[in-house]
Each structure stands twice: as C-alpha cells, then as structure tokens.
Symmetry: C2
Subunit: 269 residues, 2 copies
C-alpha cells in the first residue's frame, strides 16, 4: 500500500513524534510505501490568505471558494499546496497523527486541511443541483481510499466515554472523521486513540500503546471502516439531505449517520 502520514507536533521526541516514527517504520517493514508530511519540520503555512492565490488579479473582494476553484482549475496554486495534493492522490491510505488540542486538531494541521482541500479537489466535486448535491460523503476525489486518525488525548478514557464530560470520543471526532475525511470520499477507519494523563506516559504504558498501535497498523488494509452512510446511497432526501424517516430509528445524535447493523449485514452478505 501507499501510505501518507501527516504529522503535527513541534517536538520530535514527544509522544506524537514517537508514534509517528513507529508508524513509519512499522509500515515500511511491512512492505508499504510511506510518505511523511511533517508539518512543523516543513514550516507549513497554516493560514489561508490572498497569498495562496498568486494569479489572482481582480480587485474584487477575495472569495476563498472562487479563488480556490480558479487556482485549482488553472494549476496556479502555490507549490506547497500542489505538492500535498499530489501526495494525497498518490496515497491509498492516509494517517493523521496529532494531539487533540481543545477537542480538535492543532492549528497547523487545520491549516493543512484549509489550504490543501481546494474547491474542485476536496469539495465542489460533481454536479450540484436540486437533483444532486455533489459527490460527497463516501464519494469524491478520495473514494476508495482509507483514512485513520491517530490521536493522543489528555485526561482519562472515562472522560470521553458514552456519558463522559468531554463528550463521547466518536462524537468529538465526528467533525473530523465525518466532515473532513468521509466528506471528500475516504473510508474512515476507527481512530487509534492513545489516552495519557498530565502530558506524560510511563514506559510500561507506552509499550502497551505501541503494541496496540502496531496491531492497528498491521490491519490497516482490511479493518472495516466506520459504517457512515453515503450521501448518494439512497439514505438521504435530496436536496435537503435529511436522513429518510425510518432509518436509524433506534439511534440518536450523530450516531444516526451510521448504517444500522442490519443494513450493514445486508450489504456485506
């Protein structure tokens, strides 16, 4: 497989840095091709601004969507953005390695998404009309590729449990797993979540974590993805994109966007 690891932590010797090193080595030893985007080492520009659209001459107000569409379509994006897009097209598997800071990704990684996810590339793909609202959520540029988060999380696992105060980890990660990965087409694997306390992890716990991570990495090519529903798979009303009545009748909250177990069985049978 061809794996792109995008990694966001300023300290190579951090838990995240060590998990990134471990992943790259483990995957290469298993015979996979690996590319690494080490955003801090690359001094990645985090902020979307007019400098991202060097061919833009109009005195009109900057519309990010229109400028992104034009730059992508005319191959006038900045070189750093185009390079990352090529890596995404090359890869069949994407791993994002980052610490959960304030219940989301570090700014530098959010800025990688904001800039690399161009109109026509990661959104604005396919017909947009009252009959079809684009190729999204299971379709799009990354259809058929796999993605997995590897996140480190402070606090206790219970704080992220079904009734934990921080919110269920699957709900906290929904804007990323569903909104950033499934939206442009990825099959999203269950996240690998390393829980630590107070910014440290002892050696015994670290080795357990590596063992668990290794097992996940070894299985990355055949782990069943999170069964998010596809936008154009018949489950949503077009164009309001509301889940059709009767589906997920026994589910609530963000989990309604998972296919019911019976539906999953009927698909895989």
């Amino acid at each position: 497989m061809r794996v792109l690891v995008v990694y966001a932590h300023p300290e190579p010797r951090s838990l995240n840095g060590r998990l990134k090193d471990f992943a790259v080595e483990r995957l290469r030893m298993s015979g996979h091709d690996v590319q690494l985007s080490d955003l801090y080492a690359m001094c990645w520009k985090a902020t979307v601004d007019s400098a991202d659209f060097p061919s833009r001459t109009a005195p009109h107000p900057l519309s990010i969507i229109a400028a992104s569409q034009h730059a992508y379509a005319t191959a006038t994006q900045t070189a750093d953005v185009a390079t990352e897009q090529r890596k995404l097209l090359w890869a069949d598997t994407l791993i994002l390695q980052f610490p959960l800071w304030w219940f989301s990704m570090p700014a530098i990684l959010k800025g990688w998404i904001d800039r690399v996810y161009a109109f026509g590339f990661a959104y604005g793909v396919g017909e947009h009309s009252r009959e079809k609202w684009g190729e999204r959520y299971g379709e799009g540029t990354f259809k058929g590729k796999r993605a997995m988060l590897s996140v480190t999380v402070g606090g206790w696992a219970e704080h992220y449990s079904e009734r934990g105060i921080n919110g269920r980890i699957d709900d906290v990660l929904f804007p990323i797993n569903h909104g950033i990965l499934h939206y442009p087409g990825f099959d999203v694997l269950p996240p690998f979540v390393a829980v630590y306390q107070a910014d440290w992890i002892d050696d015994a716990r670290f080795h357990v974590t590596l063992k668990e991570f290794g097992t996940r990495l070894d299985a990355i090519g055949h782990t069943p993805p999170i069964p998010y529903r596809k936008q154009n798979g018949g489950d949503y009303v077009i164009p309001t994109l509301e889940l059709k009545p009767g589906l997920s009748a026994a589910r609530h909250g963000l989990a309604i966007h998972l296919a019911d177990a019976a539906e999953i069985r009927s698909v895989t049978r």
Copy 2:
C-alpha cells in the same frame, strides 16, 4: 458591557467582515465598550512552537503543557499572547466571528485558542486530584463571563438539522461551545448561525440576517445561556467525570450534557 470580538476572515468585505463591522458598530451604539482582535489584520501567528516560550532554556523535549505553565507563571509569554489574555480578562463578553471551514474554525482562530489558552489561564486551573479534576466546565478563569459564536455556514439549514447529513449544528459546534468556551468557565449563549449558499448571500437575505443578528446582539447581556451542566455541580462522578445515572435519562448523544428542563426550572425558580 465590555465586549471582545475575535474575528477571523482574510477579506474585510466578506460576509464575515460585514457581520463583524455590524457587531462592533451595533454594540458601541448601544453603549458597550468593544475591543476587536482582527486576527488576519494582526498577522496572528497561528502555530504553537518553541518560539512561544522564549525563556525556555532546557535541552529537554518541548512539553507544550509544561512550557505553557512555566511561561504563564513567570510572565515570560510572548507579548502577543499576553495582550490577548489581557483582553479576555478585561471583557465580560466574548464574540467569535468566523466562517465554519471544514466543520470547525479557520486555522488562524484555532491558533489563537491554542496559544492564548495557556496552562494556568484556561486549563490547569484549580486543584487536580482524585477528589477534584480542576475548575472546568462552568468554573475557571472566565466564570461569570458570557461567550457567543457568530458563524457563517455554507449549504442549507436542513443539512445541519436534527437529521441533516452534516450533523446537527449544535453537535458540530459542541467541541467549540462546550470544549473551548464552557471548559474555561464561560456561560455560552446559543450561537448565531448565518446560513448561506454557494459563497454568496443576496441583499434581501443579508438584511434579514443583519436584523436577526442585531436582535441577538441587543439581547446579549440577558440571553439565557445553553444549559450545559457544570463539572463540579454534582452531576458528574468524580474523578471519572461520567454523568451520574438517572440524569438526562431521556436524552442521548452530546445533548446529555444539557441540564434537563425540570432541573433548569428548579434552578431558576
């Protein structure tokens, strides 16, 4: 009142820019003191790195938490961070004005949170032990202050409805409202969400939006906050911080962290 508006869009003539201008003017005309942090105009540094901790001399690996704690406690933070912290302490009300990019805030605003929210200031506040897990979620540095998101959102309102494909807007915003605002103590007002389509908004719709926004701004001092439960209010088991059995029995998903209507009535009666 003293209102801090933090605004994140690169184009002053954008919908976000116009909403920011409107908010600042409306609040000032109502007699409030307003400070504005225009992150793009300030060239805000979005990325946390070792340059944020200029007094750090140790050759040890950079721990963001430890470095942040030390810099905050010894008043050796960078000037930009300290200035924003002073604005937060000055304000009794915070408004974050931003476009929802990829179901979260623009990287430059996330970087404002990542950098300004120091250990000892926005987290790591209060006793942390098995008897108490800090002053969080309704307590902390910003206790008694109010905060409100003003976000612009692409697509249709239905896409963010109870069964909409993007996820219910309250769930999508939970990591921000609950995790970034309620965590360090803010009372969080219901968000003002301006829904637009395809990066434009016509004049008629814009004026309706301004009218609605004006109503929200006029009421900002007395709008009832989202009834998030307080960590140390007796609803969560310490130290696992799981919601106690029986509470929110009729709720599911992230909404369990709202107090039940009956509980709210009993508090306000």
